[in-house]
């Protein structure tokens, strides 16, 4: 009975994380389309939400990696997964509060790894999976997106450089409707799967699913709905950072950045790499900016984002470990997760209240 209560809390927390993931990452998906004028904000966000929902259904490779290749499911309990989720949500909210587009994916994996280490020591971590499937792709993917976008925009300017600017801009704005859609689809398929993987991990740990099982349909559908709702709710604070503060983009740059981002994310998803969509899309944006003119990129802002990236895994791991420690004080029953959930909700309300007093996020439109 107690373990079932914990499982329900874990599933609820995972879906809440998925919602914050969509909320946090809306900017990644729509900022380039909005900043170049390719789509109105509400239209871009509506389409992105729908395609995030659809994207969640098209693959389960990443979910399998998160459920089976990062931590040892045999030593994981639902409480460990719960604490990991708290670490990830807390870090997401901290970075949202400062308007930094850090990685929800790395926050999730960091949180789970931190709580697993706190619960069962370093043996609980599958080093090969963590390094080979998470850390190395995490380094390569944004650099790859940067290079692809940089080369692509260079070739674009060679091809259409002598055309009338108005016609070129109009053409690439139409193109961005497709490239932005692909990016939303890619985001849904890679990011929603991480939540599916975590819920599957909790179900396996609880004995509700056999080891190495695929996510059940209800897990896929609920994760898809949560990320789509989160995306629709949007994070205007980060949209402003990604869309206008890294570089001022033209439509061709937006198309190149989105095309590079979608290509890298979809290819990685196909092979089950749970990479950070945030890192990839920002890499694409920087590449598209630097491909035109290196000084076009506001490297100070880019530096802040890189700092948040570097901090994400260890910070979320530390919060996850602390959350596990706090939960364990109350024994192995449901009391610990219930109290930590209430404390977390209080903190979230406090953060939002403080933020709304200091000034609301950048408004839509």
């Amino acid at each position: 009975m107690s373990s079932d209560v914990i499982l329900v809390i874990v599933v609820g927390t995972a879906l809440a994380f998925d919602f914050t993931n969509g909320f946090h990452d809306t900017a990644n998906v729509v900022a380039t389309s909005i900043s170049t004028g390719a789509a109105r904000p509400q239209v871009a966000i509506g389409i992105a939400s729908l395609l995030n929902f659809v994207g969640a259904f098209i693959s389960i490779s990443v979910a399998a990696t998160v459920a089976n290749d990062v931590v040892d499911a045999a030593v994981i309990t639902p409480t460990v997964v719960f604490a990991g989720l708290i670490g990830a949500i807390a870090w997401n909210l901290i970075t949202w509060s400062f308007g930094l587009p850090s990685s929800s994916s790395h926050a999730l994996i960091g949180g789970v790894v931190g709580s697993a280490v706190a619960a069962a020591g370093f043996d609980a971590v599958i080093g090969e999976g963590l390094v080979g499937k998470v850390l190395i792709p995490a380094v390569i993917a944004p650099i790859l997106a940067l290079l692809v976008a940089g080369v692509a925009i260079g070739l674009v300017y060679r091809i259409v450089g002598r055309q009338r600017p108005g016609m070129v801009t109009r053409g690439f704005r139409y193109g961005q409707l497709v490239s932005g859609g692909m990016l939303a689809l890619a985001h849904g398929t890679n990011d929603a799967q991480k939540t599916m993987g975590v819920i599957t991990l909790a179900l396996i740990a609880n004995g509700s699913l056999a080891p190495s099982s695929d996510p059940p349909l209800w897990v896929i559908a609920s994760a898809a709905a949560a990320i789509a709702l989160g995306t629709y709710s949007g994070g205007w604070r980060i949209i402003r950072t990604t869309g206008t503060r890294i570089i001022k983009m033209d439509a061709a740059q937006g198309f190149s950045a989105q095309g590079a981002g979608a290509a890298v994310i979809l290819a990685s998803t196909h092979f089950g790499f749970p990479l950070s969509t945030t890192h990839v899309i920002n890499g694409g944006v920087m590449g598209a900016g630097a491909g035109k003119r290196v000084s076009a990129v506001r490297w100070g802002v880019a530096g802040n984002i890189v700092t948040a990236w570097l901090l994400t895994l260890p910070a979320a791991a530390a919060i996850g470990a602390l959350a596990y420690g706090a939960t364990s004080i109350f024994g192995s029953g449901a009391l610990g997760p219930v109290l930590v959930t209430l404390a977390s909700l209080s903190l979230i309300v406090a953060v939002f209240t403080q933020r709304s007093r200091r000034g609301a996020p950048v408004p839509a439109g």
Binding site: I58, S59, S61, G127, E128, V131, G132, K133, I136, P137, I140, L144, A145, V148, A149, V151, A152, I153, L155, V156, I159, V160, Q163, R164, M167, V168, G171, F172, G175, V178, M182, L185, T189, A252, F255, S256, G259, A260, A262, A263, V264, L266, A267, S268, T269, H270, F271, G272, F273
Partner: protein
């Protein structure tokens, strides 16, 4: 040691697919835009043959762009 940790083949395939798709689609779509622009120019200069060729190039590039997008989705869903 690194070869054991890193899934070299899958990583290499990811890189190749990303480069080909990311650069390829952008370039092909740019050719479509170039074709549309040239079509308008040739039409204005009353050069129907050249305008037709530019329109055909633009149409072909546009179809190729959409085909690449559809192919990408099919590959994704086939695993």
């Amino acid at each position: 040691m690194m070869a054991v940790l890193v899934e070299t083949k899958e990583l290499a395939q990811t890189i190749v697919a990303s480069v080909v798709a990311g650069i390829g689609i952008t370039v092909v779509f740019s050719i479509a835009i170039w074709g549309v622009g040239r079509y308008a120019d040739f039409n204005r200069d009353e050069r129907p043959l050249a305008a037709g060729a530019a329109a055909a190039l633009a149409g072909g590039a546009l179809v190729a762009t959409l085909a690449a997008v559809v192919f990408g989705i099919v590959v994704m869903t086939s695993k």
